[in-house]
Symmetry: C2
Subunit: 274 residues, 2 copies
């Protein structure tokens, strides 16, 4: 398949997945007798270099704030940035499409959720992405369930689950606190061997996120919590902010490449404490 | 004067100033019938390379959270860092002493305050520092008063107020939001011409901070505020967090040079919103 066709497929897939995730999350709100809906915002890069749509649902009964961000952009990397991106060394040209989701929950017993998949094209092309959870409360059963589902989607696609799990642990780590951000999950990047199989894997990871997030939320939706639980969640969110602003590659990439600030920082929680 | 004597003078001065600032702020709490005091924490770098003392007063009647941090450290900069620091190119050796204060107020009508002065020694040596305010409410009278006092301390010390003011505006700026962090103040660095005069200026800036902060706080201590005012303050604090974690040189310097994380991140507000 031609690279232009691949781009079109990915752009359409991320758009479709965004609509499915939003539908699913609105249904979860509705089941809790909330009429909260996503509010959609479009943005455009200069010079017909693409743009994106970020959808945010705030102040729901289940979601304190959830953002579902899809963007498809192109351009030329700055000379400084080129060295860091495979295949961009020569002329800096890139095309990128992706979806990212960050969900901060009202109930502190339900973990914060993060999901992202992307397809990048320079003179090379590859897939990346991942899913991970950031609970403020220990829940061994949930942890086991979550990792087992990720193991299955990797196995079905003949992907190295252990490698992706270790990568995730390494990535979501706060060195200045010597702390993990959360309980990990999977993280993969530079997947470029077999486009068809990788595209299927990326689609499966997206559908896994929808299913797993629904199950984790529904299992805990009625759990009681107290002020102390909420306090622990807000302090954990402080760490989340530290990670995203100090270390996250996507945040740095976005802010350094003329992305939309509101879309990029949609990952920040509605409220955090230190 | 010998450089070792200069180091001793500065270390003692910053220690004295820290005690004076804490005394002043505890008095402001006491005048409001609060018995809140600073809690003091010492930390040490490995290998007898110094350390510091950070003092925090939390949950007062006036101060939501105020940190007063003094540290005196030495060491060898990493090869990567050396290029960025004057006089450190050859062997990377440094000695640094300084004080920094960040005050987040309960009453959103009172601006957040930031003050810092420092003396750095490599094969060169110089002073740096500044004072700036971050209000969440416009107050032209306060702004005028604040800048006029900084102008006076600069003038009395034959320092270029306009240069320092412009430097401050340039530094406390969030490019990704195209927003200033606050209303500015003064910011200076690499002051190395006349040690005696610079030391006096740095002492005067410290005493100016004590005087000006007291006046700004006392003028507004009884002002009423509503939920909307508080909300505006919490959103402004979100910007403050963004600046400190994305751009602040002191934060980056600290986290990259084995400083104490709690002391460095003492600048973060107790609570913030996005």
């Amino acid at each position: 398949m031609d690279i232009e066709d691949k781009k079109t497929y990915l752009d359409k897939w991320f758009e479709y997945l965004q609509s499915q995730i939003c539908k699913q999350f609105e249904k979860i709100e509705k089941d809790s007798k909330s009429s909260k809906k996503f509010i959609s915002n479009d943005w455009y890069k200069d010079n017909q270099a693409g743009g994106g749509t970020y959808k945010i649902l705030s102040n729901g009964k289940i979601f304190d704030k959830v953002g579902v961000n899809k963007s498809t952009v192109s351009g030329i990397f700055s000379k400084k940035f080129r060295k860091k991106i495979p295949g961009a060394e020569k002329n800096g040209k890139y095309w990128a499409s992706g979806i990212s989701v960050v969900a901060h929950m009202k109930n502190p017993k339900i973990p914060a959720m993060h999901f992202n998949t992307r397809f990048i094209v320079t003179s090379k092309s590859w897939f990346g992405g991942g899913i991970d959870l950031t609970p403020s409360h220990k829940d061994k059963k949930e942890e086991k369930y979550f990792h087992s589902k990720l193991k299955i989607v990797c196995k079905e696609n003949r992907k190295n689950y252990n490698k992706y799990k270790a990568w995730c642990d390494r990535y979501f780590f706060l060195p200045h606190r010597n702390e993990k951000r959360g309980i990990g999950g999977i993280f993969f990047d530079y997947e470029n061997k077999n486009w068809e199989k990788n595209f299927k894997f990326v689609r499966d990871v997206g559908m896994t996120f929808i299913k797993v997030s629904e199950n984790i939320i529904k299992r805990k939706i009625n759990l009681k919590y107290n002020d102390n639980d909420k306090e622990m969640q807000l302090l954990k969110r402080g760490r989340y902010v530290e990670f995203n602003l100090l270390y996250d590659r996507g945040t740095k990439f976005g802010l350094n490449s003329g992305g939309n600030t509101k879309a990029i920082l949609m990952s920040l929680p509605p409220k955090a404490k230190w």
